[in-house]
């Protein structure tokens, strides 16, 4: 995220890291070229986002399998710190209630997700995933996407996760599994986590470019009025349904077909497997 080359990105960076603008880091960005555009290291060091990402990566490394119990607890703590640091780097929402609600929901979501990937037991992972889904649904509700919020819970938590549990229980009867305590290579964990952190870094660096890309200074402020006419309209479901079945009608049909095909495919796979099993049985 620190490889911003173009000048406009540099300006945009100032949005994410306000310190850049005043700290003289921007002068470095002024010149084009990747190396010249590297921001001042002091700015990076001062940015809580940087440290948040670093802490997050460390936390994930600590939490992911093949760590001891102590390491996992430590990872959780570091993860909390990381979330705090990241939150500190983010701009404030309107009031304390919304802010607090968001932070709580976001924290729950992210930590649950982290726990989901970190849990050694697949059942626990699934439960934590369900928790994360609840958080995500709540975040959707907070965004005004009430249908999506509930649909996520219904479809994921209600259907997918239950199926997961099914599978877990059927496929892992012995409970203990070495592969849940191991990664597949010495470099898998650090490299993967580093890649993930870098991806967030890149994405967040690109984030302030919105302003530039959109050039929506006008819309950003004046658009607040029209917003209720759009996605925030009181009769949310009606609008949503109208949109879904008018503009996206073809897509809906396609999605329906896809579901049907998936249904047939899943059944076909299972029948095949049963035939194999029967063949083995008879062979035995």
């Amino acid at each position: 995220m620190y490889l911003s080359g173009a000048a406009h990105i540099g300006q945009a960076v100032a949005g994410l890291w306000p310190e850049l603008a005043g700290g003289g880091g921007l002068s470095a960005v002024a010149g084009s070229g990747l190396l010249a555009a590297l921001p001042d290291w002091r700015v990076l060091v001062q940015s809580p986002t940087t440290w948040g990402l670093v802490c997050g990566a460390v936390a994930l490394v600590l939490m992911l399998p093949r760590g001891s119990a102590v390491a996992r607890v430590l990872g959780g703590v570091v993860g909390l710190v990381a979330l705090g640091l990241l939150a500190a780097g983010q701009p404030l929402l309107s009031d304390w209630l919304a802010q607090g609600l968001f932070w709580i929901l976001a924290g729950v979501t992210v930590l649950s997700a982290a726990a989901a990937v970190a849990m050694r037991s697949a059942v626990y992972a699934a439960v934590w995933f369900a928790m994360s889904l609840l958080g995500t649904g709540s975040l959707f509700l907070l965004q005004g996407a009430s249908f999506l919020g509930v649909a996520t819970v219904v479809v994921y938590a209600g259907a997918i996760v239950v199926t997961f549990l099914f599978v877990i229980m059927l496929a892992q009867p012995e409970g203990h599994a070495t592969y849940d305590r191991l990664t597949w290579g010495w470099y898998a964990k650090p490299v993967s986590v580093l890649a993930a952190a870098l991806m967030v870094a890149v994405l967040t660096t690109a984030l302030p470019g919105i302003r530039q890309i959109d050039a929506l200074a006008a819309l950003g402020e004046s658009g607040a009025v029209e917003r209720s006419a759009g996605v925030l309209h009181p009769s949310h479901m009606a609008r949503f349904g109208a949109e879904l079945f008018s503009r996206e009608l073809v897509s809906v049909e396609v999605a329906g077909t896809l579901l049907l095909v998936a249904l047939v495919g899943a059944i076909a796979i299972m029948i095949q497997g049963r035939r194999q099993a029967q063949a083995e049985e008879s062979a035995r």
Binding site: L3, A188, L203, G209
Partner: protein, 850 residues
Amino acid sequence: MDDPIRLLLILIPALPLAAAVLIGLLGPRVLRQQSHWLAIAAVLASFLCSLLLMRELSFLQRAAGAGGEVALGIGYEEVRRLWTWTDVADAYQQPRTPPGESRESLVGGGSRDFRIDIVLRADSLTCMMLVMVTLIATLVAIYSAGYMHGDPGYWRFFAYFGLFVFSMTMLVSVSNFVLLYVFWEAVGLCSYLLIGFWYQKPAAAAAGKKAFLVNRVGDFGFALGVFLIWTTYGTLNFHDSLRGGELEPARIQQAVAAERAGEVVPAEQEPVAGVFGPLRLADNELRPAGQPRTSAMISLAICLLLLLGACGKSAQFPLHVWLPDAMEGPTPVSALIHAATMVTAGIYMIARCTPLFLVSPDAQLVVSVVGGFTALLAALIALTQYDLKRVLAYSTVSQLGYMFLALGVGSLAGVTAGMFHLFTHAFFKALLFLGAGSVMHAMGNVIDMRRFGGLRRVMPVTYITFAVGCLALAGVFPLAGFWSKDAVLGAVHDKVHELEPHDSDSHGPAPHGPAPHGPAPHDSSPHGSAEGGGTQAVERPESSADDDVTPVFGLSNLLRGQIFHWLYLLGLMTSFLTAFYTFRAFYLTFHGPELIPPEAGRHAHESPASMTVPLGILAVCSALVGLLLDRSYLDGTNSFANWLLWTPSLGFPAAMRTTLPGEFHLSVAGWSTLMALGGIGLSSYLYLGSRHEIHGIRQFFDLAWVSGWSDVESFARMRQWRVARWVRECSAAVGLEWLLRLVVGALLLVVLVLSAPLLLLYYVSPYKLSYHRFYLDELYELVLVRPLRGLARLCYGIDRWLIDGTVNFVGRVPRQIGDVMRSLQMGLVPFYALAMVLGLLILLAVQLLG
């Protein structure tokens, strides 16, 4: 067909070819052990055709000679064009140098057509060769039918045989250097096939290969010579023609006349003077009309290159090594090669190119020297060989050397003598080889003379015929070899006297008889032509060569005379040696205690009639052919030479100025007979009786005594001598013992120093040199084969390591990269996912941040 000559010319090679093709096609399935009938019939028919052709030609010649006075000296040829092979007009163009200006380039200017017609010719030389080749081939074929009986490759042998005869007859009857080269190579190929006939034998395969490769060296030179001839003379034809390919002499005369008259003739009608065509040869200067004289350097180069080719084919000194090894082939093949086909090609070619050699005395000298040296060398080697066929092979090399010696003399007498020797040699060498084959046949393929002996009662016919052959080879009066060898030596002797100052004519080994130096006497001209007498008498032979041609080597006549003198002595010496080794082989084989090797089994009897009949025929021929053809001792008429002089490339005016054949040199004959009888006598003395002395003589020549001398212990033995003891005691009494010691010590030192080279000599004693063929094979191995092999190995190494290495490297780099990348293909799904993520990360970074 209304043109019998054309028909005969076609039939002579075509019959063997047809036989070869038929046997090749039908042999394996149909003919099998009956293949020889076809071959014999074809070759016999070919022989008869050759005789007919000879008869036709002699009629025509007589008619031409009777019709005009100028017949002799221009020659007579009948040329028949079959079809055009290739025709490239103005294939080579160079600005013509105006006459008088200094020549910038070695070769003359002008444009040259590259026109190759398939042209067959009939002239005396060709006819002679055809008759000889087909006759010998016929006899050998009959003989082979007996000799090769039961061989698994019977039909194959006769197929090759037919092909060989076809190639040889074509070689002597074509009228073009390119075709000559083609069949030159064809002969080489056939000899390769026949020498390596028993290809299962490693030695035979190696011998075939060796013959082929050594011949390639010569052929390379020949090819260069042909190129040079083309660039120099603008044509490769032997004969005159028009540019359109018209061969009719009348038309050519017309065109020449028209051109001389300054008329504009169409391009088709432009006359082209062949290299040995009457148009060119009639001109004394031996150059094409309107072209500057060929430079001496070019002439010499052409001649030496051709000589190189001839050396290869005729097994002359540096390239003679293949011929003895060619013994590995079936014996009839050896007979054919040695007598009639392969080796005669070189002689034929030199004889055919006489006009070219005439203008280059240096080249002639080289030819003679090479021939003389080879003759002596081969004879020396032949002295000690125990392999019967090998003795004969070296004898062939030696006799071929004689022929070269004669050809190099540079007079018509020499050339005809050489060809005459070729002719006679064909008979008795074929006889000897076939006799040796008969012996071999009886002895179960044992050829080492130490392992059999006293066969005269076992194989009487072979014994008698072989004896005739030996006598002929030794040159005993009145057998064929005597006459031809006498002619050769006489030609050389004449040359010596030509070149010597006239006041020193008594000098030399020919004290008897009138020396035939100076202008040739009119009456000695065999043609008896009234017209040519004047020109022949007036001009000195060397003037034609020396006036216009500057010798490149710059040798004085005196020196050349001395060289030829030595060559003459060498010839006599060789004659002696020839007689000796021939009878050594004869005695070892047929006299002494009867000894039959166990391999012979129940074969140890006289060979079948199919083998003895040809032997008989050849024996008769060997005995009589010289007597019948060379009647110079009677009236100075050599029918053979007279016949040969009708050849355009021999009997042309410039050549007629040289010494002509026909003189019988009594002194030379005497000396050579003396030598031959001496050789026979010595051989008889040594080998006919108890053979006690042989060991001592061999010890002597082996320098075994040197080892006895150089031995330090011999000094110790000396102390035991009575004289030594006496001296020692005396000196001790006098009190001068110290002086004695000093003297003896000094003597010892001197002897030691002196014996060092003797010691060296011991290891290369004359006997060993001879026995090991002067280490020539080893020398070639060391000087040529090894370095070449090393070079080849170097090239191979370069190819293998550098070029292949580069290519392989280029190929291996992607593979190595692929191998490295392969290791990424570890089958772990999460790893693939990680790779994808990393790639995605890079893309994202570039896209979003770049």
